[in-house]
Amino acid sequence: MLSISNLGVTFTQYDQGLRRKQLAVITDLDLDVKAGEVVAVVGASGSGKSLLAHALLGILPENAALSGTMRFKGEILTPERCRALRGKTIALIPQSIGYLDPLMTVGGQVQRVAQLAGRAKAEASASVSKTFARYNLSETVRDRYPFQLSGGMARRVLVSTAVVTQAQLVIADEPTPGLHPDVVVETLNHLRELAVEGRGVILITHDIEAALQIADRVAVFYAGTTVEIAAAKDFLSGNLRHPYTQALWRSLPQNEFIPVPGNQPSPEQLPVGCLFSDRCDWVSETCTAERPQLRELRSGWVRCVHAKG
C-alpha cells in the first residue's frame, strides 16, 4: 500500500545574520506498509518519526525539502497528491486532545472531518453518530467541548476522527503516553481493529512494549534513518539484526535494563559513515568510511554491514 524509500527531509534555516544552513533531519528513511497490517515505527524523539507523519500528510513547514520516493498504491506521492489524499485516504490520529479546537464542540469537529473527507452534511452527521455509537460514546458527547472529556473518551473521539474518513492508511502519532494502562490497552485494540477492517496502520511510538502488543512489524528509526525492520515476533525470539535494536531491547526494564550509552548524532554533525558507529560495539573501519545500505536479512531488513544471517 505504502512504500517509502530513501526519504530525506532537509530544513533550510537562517542562522543569525541571515546565513543559510541546511539541516538533514531525515536521511535514507525506508518503510513499507501493507493493507491490513499494523507497522510500528519506534525510535527516540528526534529520530524522525513524527516528521515522517508530517511528510506523508504534506504538513511539513515551508522551509523543508523532500528527497527520495514515497509511493502510495503504486503511484508516487507528490506534495500535491499528499494534499489531495490527506483527510480522505490518509488520516492522522493525533497525540492528544490538544489537537482539537478548545472552543468547538467535539461533535462539530468530527463532523467537519467527515465533511472534509468528502461526505455531504447529512451523511457526515450519520457517520459521526454511527462511529460514536461504535466507540461507546453517547450522543450527548457530541455537544461537549474537548475540556469536558475524560482521558478514555478523548482517545476514542480521536480514533473516531480517523474512522469517519474511511481512510485506507491511518497514522497514529504517539497515542499512548500518559494514559492509564487500561486506556492504553483499549486504544491499542482500537488500532488493531482498524487494521482488521483492511486499513494500513502506522503506529508511531517510543514505547516498544506497547508497539509489540499489536504490531505485525516494527521499523526502528535512528537519527532520521531506518536501521531495522523486523517482525514483532523477532523481538521475543531474539532474532534481532541491528545492534541498536538489540541495545534498545536490552534497555527494557523486564530485560537487562541497561541504557544505551551515548547520544544520537545531531543533524548538524552527522558522521560520514554509519550513523550509529559512535555508539556501536561492532564498529570497524568500514562502518566509519561509508553509510551502510539497507539489505534484506533473515526475512527482515537491516542497515548494518556486520549483521549476519
Partner: protein, 336 residues
C-alpha cells in the same frame, strides 16, 4: 440542575458587579471631592464669574453659607454625597439646566457617534488583523503593520484635523462642523443630514481604535495558526481560509471583544478631542466647556458618568466571555 447553577452564577455575578461599582463610585467621589477641595479655584468666584465686581462681600459670604462652604470638609463631603445619592447632581452653570439633563441630552448626540466608531474600529481592526496575521511576513502584512504603528503614535485631534482638511475643505463632501446644517433647527434635521454630519467625526474616532485591535488580532491569529489543533486541521485537508473560518475566528474573538470593550475608555477620551475639532455638540465638547468655564457641577457629573460608562463596557466584556468560551462560567472561575 444546570439552569439552577446558571442562575446562582448570574446572581453572584450581578451582586459582585454592583458591589464593585458602588465601591468604585465612592472612590471616584472621594478622589474628585478632595481634588476640588484642594484646588485654588474659589467655587464662589467661579460661580459668579465676571459679575464679581458687582457683588458685595456680604452676598458672597451668603452664597458660601448656602453652599455649606463654612462647614468642615468631612461634613461637606457627606452632604454632597447625600445629594448625589438622591440623584441630585446640581445645576450646570454653563447650560443653566440640571446636570443630569445636560448629560442625557449630550450623551444621546455622542452615543451615535461612539457606536458607529466602535463598530467601525472593531470590524476594520478585526479584518485587518486577520489579513495581516494570515499572511504574516507578506507585503500586505508589512503595510498593515506600518499603518497601525503610525496611527498608534498619531495625535487623535490631528488625525481628525487631517480628515477635515481632506474631506470637508478640499473635496467638500463632508460638512465642516456641527451636528446640523447652519440655520436648521434640531427638530427639522432629516436623517440623512444627521448622518452626513455624524459620519466624518465617527470615522475620525474609529481610526484611533483600529491600530490597537489590528495589532492584537494579528498576534493572536499567528499564535492560533501555530497551534496543534490547526496542524491537525491541516492534516485533514482544511484550507487556510477555512481554518480561519472554523478555528481562527472562534479563538481570536474573545481577546478581540475584551479589547474592544476595554477600548470604550479610550473612545470616550477620543470623543472629547474629535468633538472639539468638528464642533460637534456632544458630551465630549460639554466636558471641555465645563472645564474652560469652571462649571464644577457639570464636570463632576461627567466624571461620574464616564466612570459608569467605562464600567459598563468592562461588565459587558465579562458577560461576553461565557457566550464564546465554554470553559468560562458566569460568577465562577475557569473550570478546567
Amino acid at each position: 440542575m444546570r439552569i439552577k447553577a446558571l442562575l446562582i452564577g448570574a446572581t453572584i455575578f450581578a451582586a459582585q458587579k454592583l458591589l464593585r461599582l458602588g465601591l468604585l463610585l465612592i472612590a471616584v467621589a472621594v478622589f474628585t471631592f478632595v481634588l476640588l477641595s484642594l484646588s485654588p479655584i474659589d467655587p464662589v468666584k467661579a460661580y459668579i464669574g465676571a459679575d464679581m465686581m458687582q457683588i458685595s462681600p456680604e452676598q458672597q459670604a451668603l452664597i458660601a453659607e448656602r453652599w455649606g462652604l463654612d462647614q468642615p470638609i468631612w461634613s461637606r463631603f457627606l452632604d454632597w454625597l447625600g445629594q448625589l445619592l438622591q440623584g441630585n447632581m446640581g445645576t450646570s452653570l454653563v447650560f443653566n439646566q440640571p446636570v443630569s439633563q445636560v448629560i442625557a441630552l449630550r450623551f444621546q448626540a455622542s452615543l451615535q457617534m461612539l457606536a458607529i466608531a466602535w463598530f467601525l474600529s472593531g470590524l476594520l481592526g478585526l479584518g485587518l488583523g486577520i489579513i495581516a496575521g494570515a499572511l504574516q511576513g507578506r507585503w500586505i502584512d508589512r503595510l498593515i503593520r506600518l499603518y497601525a504603528y503610525t496611527l498608534a503614535s498619531s495625535p487623535t485631534f490631528w488625525v481628525a484635523l487631517l480628515l477635515l482638511i481632506v474631506f470637508a475643505v478640499s473635496f467638500k463632501v463632508a460638512p465642516i462642523c456641527c451636528a446640523a446644517p447652519p440655520g436648521v433647527l434640531s427638530g427639522n434635521v432629516t436623517f440623512w443630514q444627521h448622518l452626513h454630519h455624524l459620519l466624518l467625526p465617527a470615522v475620525a474616532l474609529s481610526i484611533i481604535g483600529i491600530a490597537n485591535i489590528t495589532l492584537h488580532t494579528r498576534q493572536k491569529l499567528i499564535d492560533v495558526l501555530h497551534s496543534d489543533y490547526v496542524l491537525f486541521a491541516q492534516a485533514q485537508g482544511e484550507s487556510l481560509w477555512n481554518i480561519i473560518r472554523y478555528h481562527g475566528f472562534r479563538n481570536i474573538l474573545l481577546p478581540a471583544i475584551t479589547l474592544q470593550f476595554a477600548s470604550l475608555s479610550e473612545l470616550f477620551g477620543g470623543s472629547v478631542l474629535v468633538e472639539q475639532v468638528f464642533a460637534y455638540p456632544g458630551l465630549g465638547e460639554a466636558t471641555v466647556q465645563a472645564a474652560l468655564r469652571s462649571d464644577i457641577p457639570l464636570l463632576v457629573g461627567i466624571v461620574f458618568f464616564s466612570a459608569l460608562f467605562v464600567y459598563t463596557g468592562n461588565t459587558l466584556a465579562d458577560l461576553a466571555y461565557p457566550l464564546i468560551d465554554p470553559r468560562i462560567q458566569l460568577g465562577g472561575q475557569r473550570s478546567l
